[in-house]
Amino acid sequence: MAQAKVKKIFYNAFWKDNPVFRQILGICSTLAVTNLIINTVIMDLGVIFVVMMSSFTVSVLRNLTPHRIRMMVQVLIIAAYVIMVDLILKAYVPDISRALGPYVGLIITNCIIMGRCEAFAGSNRPLPALVDGLATGLGYSVILLAIAIPREILGFGTLLHGTAWQVSLLPDSFTKWTIMVMAPGAFFMLATVIWIVRALTDQGQEDEAHG
């Protein structure tokens, strides 16, 4: 596989077809886990792992999968990896696992992963599919962090709240914007990020996918 091709796949999946602000996919977990940076990071790692591995597996099995039931097969593959992530989180970071609650399980219905399996992995060789999955996962992670960081700073006045590396950024006299860690804050932040990115890249056209 040529170097240039890897770069192109990476660029396409990471930026040009970025799942969150280009295709408006995977919004549910984008909103739900971004109230604390640490939750976001753990969720990101989970999603990157699942999307990489399931893209790879779907691609390996693509010639063996009957076309009619491919969706079902994809869901099963994704669910298997999600269960792995869930068990690992429960074992090593039980507190965060509890905070994330059902959203780890909801990686299964995260349309990003299904979307990549269907759009790329189903018709490409395993290694490009792996790269594509990695780039998609990273593209998703960057947006999540871009939403999580302002939310946590404004909502709690800290960075990495609840971890050993907690840093207080704002003085105690600052009135915390509790609304930022509640539901409306998430909606507003995501809208702002989409707005900024689209205004910068000047490609207002979106193709909203279903799912």
């Binding site: 509640m182 409306p184 809208a191 207002g204 996918a209 279903h210």
Partner: protein, 196 residues
């Protein structure tokens, strides 16, 4: 946790902890379908029906099949399979028995399998340890709350077509801001009941 009356859960699921506006479930179809009021009604009713039925089936499957056999770790797979199979079954039954309903609701059914709200409600009910009646009430209430939110949203989006929205904000951007304001309004209910 177990002592809450199902009615309270029903009310809470519709208003104080609306599945869409406080738990962010089912956003994808919410954003794409809410452009059209008629479609929103159709999808809303389909979600109410499927959500109520699948919470009941998933509850039975979890406590009568998975727990006795010690296979709780496979709940994700089982739940998603049950939801997919149920939706497929409903589609076949409706297609054969009632063409009118099929035309109005049938096209939304495939969308529902990938609607995270359906799976999310099933996962929440297990995590919170609801009993059977509570789960059904939660499923029904969650569906009604979701339908309420999407229909309200479709109405607002219809009006906003005549307003001038900055180009990069059109579509999903403005829809998210409206959803944020709606979530504000629903927070107003939150003092009424203290149910997660």
């Amino acid at each position: 946790m177990v002592e809450i009356h199902p009615f309270v859960i029903l009310f809470a699921a519709i208003f104080t902890s609306n599945i869409l506006l406080t738990n962010y479930l089912g956003m994808c179809s919410f954003l794409s379908v809410s452009r059209d009021i008629k479609a929103s009604w159709g999808l809303g009713f389909a979600v109410i029906f499927v959500m109520t039925a699948t919470t009941a089936i998933n509850w039975l499957a979890y406590y009568y099949v998975l727990v006795p056999t010690g296979l709780e770790h496979f709940w994700y797979i089982i739940f998603i399979m049950i939801i997919a199979a149920f939706v497929q079954l409903v589609e076949i039954v409706i297609e054969k028995t009632s063409p009118v309903i099929y035309v109005n609701l049938g096209i939304f059914l495939p969308l529902i399998t990938v609607n995270c709200a359906i799976l999310g409600v099933s996962l929440f009910m297990i995590i919170r340890g609801y009993d059977f009646m509570q789960s059904v009430a939660y499923g029904f209430g969650g569906g009604v709350g979701w339908a309420l939110a999407i229909i309200a949203m479709a109405g607002i989006r219809q009006k906003i077509k005549r307003s001038k929205v900055p180009a990069p904000l059109q579509g999903a951007g403005i829809a998210l801001i409206i959803a944020g304001i709606m979530a504000f309004a629903f927070i107003g209910f939150s003092g009424m009941i203290q149910v997660q």
